[in-house]
């Protein structure tokens, strides 16, 4: 094997070792997804009125439990989430998140047999982005690097934040930031996989019998706007990609690691 003169053997060891462990991580997360897909396959779809305590899969439409507006686009919604990241340039560059906030109010899932409240806290939420903005914050305000018109809603949202959070944003004022708002509107199709538990002691749900939330013994909690079948296909697709990529990466890195060690 031709030696790469710009990298020493110890650098190569480190690179191959990192690649091997990244591969293992991909395999582990891929198998974790496999367990979720199995749970999904083994949990038949329930009607709201016949949902009982334990893991349930429900499909229906989103309904507002309490009226609320999304913070950036200002639309009435059952649930919102904001995720902001900045582009880290350089050798290990990429988008890195620095702000993540979501609505804590419950939403409702309604089917032809009734409604049930859903607590989104802790859930993995797979919904398309309602609003996506990319630009740069500078000391003078928002400077748009991309040829897009200024979105005053994003500036208004940042100005409405508390001082501590504004300081967090200010740290990235020279960076390219991306803000995504995810919203579940009323009447959007909804699929939920989570634990149906007694609503006793849950604030604001005194009149309810059951609530779907992340359980303590089973932390599975997914909310998606896709159908159950589409959601399962997406999860399965990610699972295969992660496992195959992980096996390939860890196998290749392991072989190269051992080969380099022999020279």
């Amino acid at each position: 094997m031709k030696r790469n003169t710009s990298l020493s053997d110890s650098d190569l060891f480190i690179i191959y070792a990192i690649g091997f462990f990244i591969g293992l991580l991909l395999i582990v997360t891929g198998f974790w997804r496999y367990l979720v897909v199995q749970k999904l396959k083994n949990t038949p779809l329930s009607k709201v009125s016949s949902a009982s305590v334990g893991l349930v899969a429900l499909a229906g439409r989103a309904r507002l439990y309490q009226p609320q507006l999304s913070p950036v686009s200002g639309v009435p919604c059952a649930f919102w989430r904001i995720f902001v990241s900045y582009y880290k340039s350089g050798k290990n560059g990429g988008w890195e998140g620095f702000y993540n906030a979501a609505s804590k109010l419950p939403l409702s899932l309604e089917d032809e047999t009734g409604r049930i409240p859903v607590l989104p806290e802790g859930a993995t939420i797979e919904i398309p982005s309602n609003l996506s903005f990319e630009g740069t914050l500078s000391e003078q305000g928002l400077v748009i690097k991309k040829p897009a018109s200024m979105d005053p809603r994003v500036l208004k949202f940042i100005e409405s934040l508390d001082e501590k959070t504004k300081e967090t944003f200010a740290r990235y004022h020279e960076e390219n930031i991306m803000l995504n708002e995810y919203v579940i509107h009323e009447n959007d199709p909804l699929f939920v996989l989570g634990s149906a538990l007694p609503a006793v002691g849950v604030a604001g749900l005194a009149d309810e019998t059951l609530v779907v939330r992340q359980g303590s013994s089973d932390s599975t909690m997914y909310i998606s706007e896709s159908s159950e079948a589409a959601f399962m296909n997406t999860m399965s697709g990610h699972m295969y990609i992660q496992i195959i990529a992980g096996l390939a990466l860890s196998g290749i890195c392991l072989y190269l690691f051992l080969s380099t060690g022999g020279n």
Binding site: F31, Y34, L35, Q38, K39, K41, N42, T43, P44, L45, S46, K47, S49, S50, S52, G54, T113, L247, G251, L254, Y255, L258, S259, G261, G262
Partner: protein
């Protein structure tokens, strides 16, 4: 060469670990499916028992108004007694179907007795029984879906090997003959 052999060794260990993982997952999945079936059945059974418990109240109420309809009331009492003896799911399904038909007869004869029809207790019982019927139908659907998932899983590769090793056999559906499970429709007329 040594590196290749070591890699093959690690890969072999990895494959063994993956196979053990899949066997464990299949086993856990089958246990989960069995527990789902037990839970779904328990949720139906509680409603079947609740319905059986309401029948003596209904019989006493109807007796007070419809003194000459003894045969219908005796029939439902006998059917109730048989249903309470049922153990296996197909027997319980048959008993449930017979109870639904008998209740239909009782509510039909109530049409001939306006005083009975107007009775608050009767209306309350009628509404409660109608709700139970609807819930039984919905839970039956869920139970049968759970059984279908389990029965399909134990026949599919690779779960079939684990199921055979554990001697798991298919479960019975909760079948109702005739109209495939639509709930008993009871009309409540408010005087």
């Amino acid at each position: 060469m040594a590196a290749l052999e070591t890699t093959i060794g690690f890969v072999t260990l990895g494959i063994i670990a993956i196979v053990l993982f899949f066997v464990m997952t299949i086993y856990n999945g089958l246990i989960s499916l069995l527990n789902n079936i037990d839970k779904a059945w328990a949720n139906i059974d509680v409603l079947l028992k609740k319905r059986l418990d309401l029948i003596p109240n209904l019989v006493e109420l109807v007796k007070g108004y419809a003194t000459y309809e003894r045969s219908v009331l005796e029939e439902i009492t006998q059917i109730r007694a048989s249903a309470m003896q049922a153990q296996a799911i197909p027997e319980k399904a048959k008993g449930s179907e017979a109870i639904s038909a008998s209740l239909g007869s009782v509510f039909a004869l109530a049409e001939n007795y306006p005083d009975l029809k107007a009775s608050e207790n009767f209306l309350h019982l009628q509404k409660e029984l109608a709700t139970i019927e609807t819930q039984i139908a919905q839970r039956r659907e869920f139970y049968n879906d759970s059984v279908l998932l389990y029965n399909t899983n134990i026949k599919m590769i690779p779960s079939v090997y684990v199921a055979d090793w554990l001697k798991y056999t298919p479960k019975e559906y909760f079948r109702v003959e005739g109209d495939a499970g639509t709930p008993l429709k009871i009309t409540i007329e408010v005087p």
